[in-house]
Amino acid sequence: MPFDTAPEEIGALILRVALRDRKAFDALYAATSAKLFGTCLRVLQNRAEAEEAVQEVYVKIWLKADRFAVTGQSPMTWLIAVARHHAIDRLRARREAAGGLDDAALEIRDPAPGPEAMAVAADQNRQLEGCLGELEADRASALRSAYMQGDSYAELAARHAVPLNTIRSWLRRGLMRLKECLER
């Protein structure tokens, strides 16, 4: 079962990929592509586009695997960051090319932490959720949807019907408080 692959095994696979080991690349794909596809799909909300995006993500992983070692990140965090950033780049380009916000951007997309997040009981997540819980509910929900769906300031401003600068200073204050809370 792919999801049972231990983090240290994933890390070892990435390092072998950096050495251009194709078998390791195949194994890494088998172990992680469902998660990275899920990531792209959640951000892009479009299956065909997410399939294209995830291919590009693995090209990037193949080309940049040597960078992983220097980040000191956990392997899944690194892989998901590569996928998320790539999906968000595509999302921005799509919406900006469409001349602004598309309808999907303005839809209220489940601000609550979804059933999947509820099921998670990891200590780390409890700590993050605890700290998000200390923020005003709308700010915490904006930060969650920014992470999960790649929402931009512009989209959040439109959805919460507040000026761009207002949402930015709200969320910046929220981010600073979140950091303080996590470092306590």
Binding site: S33, A34, K35, F37, G72, E116, R172, K179
Partner: protein, 233 residues
């Protein structure tokens, strides 16, 4: 330059958080991605924020991919023979990806035409060219085996009646012109024997804004609108 004070550090930390979350417009994210490559303190701040948010990634539910996705990936990456052999530069789907301004897509698009496995292509260098004060963004790939520089024009239009000129710089030496960049979303520029040895990972590329026909001197006469280090692919 003044020493960065606490205010600047606070601002940088917030920018790092905004980059990690992806809250900014595409052009600003692209500029910060570029900064990430050259500013270790900023890169460290971004990593720290990614670590803070990482637990939320539990919410990304794994989804099964159709097997043809891996087949297409292998074909692209390793040149395994596949049914589709259409000319790469004419592949609209890929250029749609390129217009997305996504670095990975660019790497993909610019590397793929080599049509051979990457490990055998150490003679390829590439650069992402941009500058904080400008909207101009190009990707450039130089393939030593063909002597050709391929460019993808991603953002920042050429002002009416002017041109972009490409330069290579090594260390403290004066810039050497590689020529005026042909207009269009993609461009190819052949390098002569004098220029080829300069296109290595020890050099960087720059783009200046020039009058029609290029700089009247052998040095840039207009502002530099984008620059970037050449890196081995």
């Amino acid at each position: 330059m003044t020493e960065p004070g606490p205010a600047q550090e606070g601002e940088d930390d917030l920018l790092a958080a905004e980059y990690a979350l992806g809250l900014l417009p595409g052009s600003e994210l692209a500029a910060l991605a570029r900064r990430l490559e050259i500013d270790p303190a900023f890169a460290k701040a971004v990593l720290a924020w990614e670590e803070r948010f990482a637990p939320m990634a539990e919410g990304y539910l794994p989804q099964d991919l159709p097997p043809n996705v891996k087949a297409a990936l292998d074909r692209h990456l390793f040149g395994v023979a596949g049914p589709q052999k259409a000319g790469f530069w004419a592949n609209l789907a890929l250029w749609r990806g390129l217009a997305a301004g996504a670095t990975a897509a660019l790497v993909l698009a610019l590397v793929l035409p080599l049509q051979r496995p990457l490990p055998q292509a150490p003679s390829t260098v590439m650069a992402s060219l941009s500058a904080e004060a400008s909207e101009v963004h190009y990707m450039a790939v130089y393939d030593a085996s063909t002597g050709m520089v391929r460019l993808a024009h991603l953002a920042g239009a050429v002002p009416e009646g002017q041109v972009f000129q490409l330069w290579v710089l090594q260390g403290d030496d004066a810039p050497v012109s590689l020529g005026v960049i042909p207009t269009g979303a993609t461009a190819r520029m052949a390098m002569d024997d004098r220029l080829r040895p300069m296109l290595t990972s020890q050099s960087h590329l720059a783009i200046s804004l020039e009058p029609l026909g290029g700089s009247p001197t052998d040095q840039p006469s207009g502002p530099v609108v984008a620059l970037g280090d050449l890196q081995e692919v």
